[in-house]
Subunit: 466 residues, 2 copies
């Protein structure tokens, strides 16, 4: 049952969905599978969440399709037993062909400009596979064993070189700890800070609440520092255990931290023994000049550098890296745990080979061009559609801040939804303790849409603006 | 610097080491690299731990090589700055060629029969790469996104089918949670149990202390149940939150849980609301008859099944799976965390394709034959070398229990060390609260050595026996 689901049936679904409306395509495919007996009576269907994830479509689309097929008698849905193919569904329905109905469709977001995810269509599958072949062929047998909690030495060695070259990071393989995403690294640092009896971490006025939650769940209060046109103002730092900063390109405001502020925060760390946690999420993407080097280069003994493959390659790799002060390596590894938290060897070795072969540099150059082109098109389109609208934070990264007149943020997000566009307002990213007044703006993740949907998304955005 | 280390230099090391003594081969390779300028003065070498992990040799071998090269003036070692190539090392030493010295070498374990790791040379690299190519070519773009904390639906779907077929597990993709190793799954269950206010988990008299520690570190006491020839006696179970069992093949004693005991423990779980945590670490490896089906099949609502690719494929994949009761899925996912703890997509998709294509079944059949042959050779060799020695636990798995006369365990482990063989005594696996008297025995992991070292390891074992 499950096997046919995964193979022939799953593949059919993909093909069908490519051609037509999502909900009706899915319904047709399911009816067909039941009719031909590929899905037999009683078979339990994947949850709408699972199937939606599999097909890369909205969960509600699947839930709607299921709901209609239940109404049609093809499926049954019962609390606790999930959605199943109805007993003798096929014969009963064969007598009553379901005519296509045209009921008023609720509008679902067709486009997304939510920040945080790169265009997943850019993942360099063929190059990745070539790197995998070279890496796995050359790997010593011990690579397939339990492994080093710091991560594979091949990857740490290549990263030390790459980060020094591309980001000015003072790195050495022994200081690098591979983790399964930025959030994993932040969790480890939260554990280390708690073990050192820290009680508070200073954060920026704007950021991601999931990151703040990772800290508070581990017993660390978060308090927001003020933000101005020079970036986050760290003068108010006191005895916090650490400060979390997106120094190269503040997320989501987009301003880089001013050089004076960079020195000041390092001075604070030296004076108090606090740590700077540098979230270098999109450090490779700067368009108008060379990337700003990592803050970590200023003082490798007080700055923990956190980088990730999630923006430059794909979040699905779940590969990120920390460069930690020498004296902190043992504590971070203790937090990581000796037994587990190790990322899979094949993906680690492949990334090492991907970087060492130059494919990573080529890939980053390629997508940097793509995102820069999108950024230029965004600026142009907004200038044409809404000349008084200011766009900022565009020197780097994959998102821009589109300023709105006071009070307009929620109406514009709502208008965008009516245009079939999911986009987020700035308020969503504001810390509860952020000082000063909020600003009205949209955070436009122009890196997110697939190439085919980019212009449609842009048009929808322009129509939603005042 | 780091780049040359990883590529040309690292590769040279591998080649050199294959041919001769490990320490002297490493020293020659390092001298050569310094002499030719591939390693320049001041270059910091990887820590002995990193390099040892990279080369798959003992850390002490690297430390010894470093120590001798320091003594010879090639390297310098300073507290806090690591081991570096000495300034002007090459010219100075060129004048004084280091003659090979023959000092009495301390004996290092040349062979290992430590249980827990499969023969890493069996990892099917070519087949794995073929599966990777098919999987990554066919994957939808969304597969490269942040992903589902339960794991990829493709893998869960294929596993549901496989586990039902191969292990009698009552599985559905929605009940499966992919994790990065058995220990990760156990950690998640510990969190779930703590959130349910459980205080104690019953464990077997023998097992792995790292697993017990994972529980106690999360606030759960562990108490050992008695063990006899029918397996773990669960009659003493009371109000514990859970019991952790290796039902199919007790680790390390090797006895399967008697059918009456299987029913009894499920009855206990039903009556008290407790959970059975089934560690099915080597369920695929049974030699004399069909594998005993998983306990989970008896009562999927009270048994959490934990399986892993660590024994059947390689620990380096860091891929394992839990099949959890329907009502527990949300709690396990909450423990896993919404943001992270997700294994990398490429490895997950590749494993799904590897299983779906039949390559996994073929691979398991192949290594089952290999381990069975080794088991037979072990039994034969022991019968010839030490006729009164009883071997047990050999119906399944990759390790055997070699019984020893009372008081002989430590002397035999010591004698093995003198034969260049690392092997573990049973005492190492005994829980502090295990009732009754301990037994003297060796736990012989015959799956561990590479094929080339197997007969040498076996000879060393036989020489060490009384």
């Amino acid at each position: 049952m499950t096997e046919s689901w995964a193979t022939s049936f799953g593949v059919d679904l993909h093909l069908e969905l490519a051609d037509g409306g999502l909900r009706s395509g899915l319904m047709d495919a399911l009816r067909e599978a039941i009719r031909t007996g590929r899905l037999t009576p009683g078979t339990r269907l994947p949850s709408s969440r699972s199937l939606a994830a599999d097909l890369g479509i909205a969960r509600n689309t699947v839930a709607d399709a299921y709901g209609e097929l239940v109404a049609e008698g093809w499926l049954t849905a019962r609390q606790g037993s999930g959605t199943r193919v109805a007993q003798r569904a096929a014969p009963r329905k064969a007598a009553a062909p379901a005519a296509p109905r045209s009921r008023p469709a609720r509008r679902r977001p067709q486009y997304s400009l939510m920040p945080g995810t790169p265009d997943l269509g850019t993942f360099p599958r063929a190059e990745w596979l070539r790197a995998a072949r070279r890496a796995l062929t050359a790997a010593p047998n011990e690579a397939f064993g339990y492994g080093d909690p710091s991560g594979r030495v091949e990857l740490r060695t290549v990263l030390a070189d790459y980060l020094a070259r591309a980001r000015g990071v003072h790195a050495h393989p022994d200081r690098i700890v591979i983790c399964s995403g930025f959030a994993h690294g932040l969790m480890l640092m939260a554990q280390v800070l708690r073990a050192r009896r820290a009680r508070e971490v200073a954060v920026e006025s704007y950021g991601l609440d999931v990151h703040w939650s990772l800290l508070t769940e581990r017993g660390l209060r978060t308090r927001a520092l003020p933000l101005d046109e020079l970036g986050t103002d760290t003068r108010g730092l006191d005895r916090e255990g650490a400060v979390l900063l997106t120094a190269a390109h503040q997320f989501p405001i987009g301003v880089p931290l001013h050089p004076d502020r960079r020195s000041a925060v390092v001075d604070w760390a030296r004076a108090t023994g606090g740590l700077v946690l540098e979230d270098d999420y999109d450090g490779e993407f700067r368009y108008d000049r060379q990337p700003v080097g990592a803050l970590q280069g200023l003082d490798p003994e007080h700055v923990v550098y956190l980088g990730t493959a999630s923006k430059s390659l794909a979040p699905g790799l779940r590969l990120a890296w920390m460069v930690v002060p020498d004296g902190l390596v043992a504590e971070v590894l203790a937090a990581k745990g000796a037994m587990d938290w190790v990322c899979g060897t094949p993906d680690q070795l492949t990334l090492a080979e991907f970087i060492a072969s130059g494919a990573y540099d080529r890939h980053v150059r390629g997508i940097r061009l793509r995102y820069r082109r999108r950024r230029d098109q965004l600026v142009e389109a907004l200038a044409a559609a809404s000349p008084e609208t200011a766009v900022s934070g565009i020197a780097a990264g994959m998102h821009a801040l589109v300023e709105l007149p006071g009070g307009m943020e929620r109406p514009v997000v709502q208008a965008a939804a009516w245009q079939g566009l999911a986009v987020e307002g700035l308020a969503r990213y504001r810390h509860g303790t952020a000082p000063g007044a909020g600003r009205d703006a949209l955070v436009v993740g122009y890196g997110t849409p697939p190439e085919s949907a980019w212009h449609g998304a842009l048009d929808a955005l322009c129509r939603a603006l005042p």
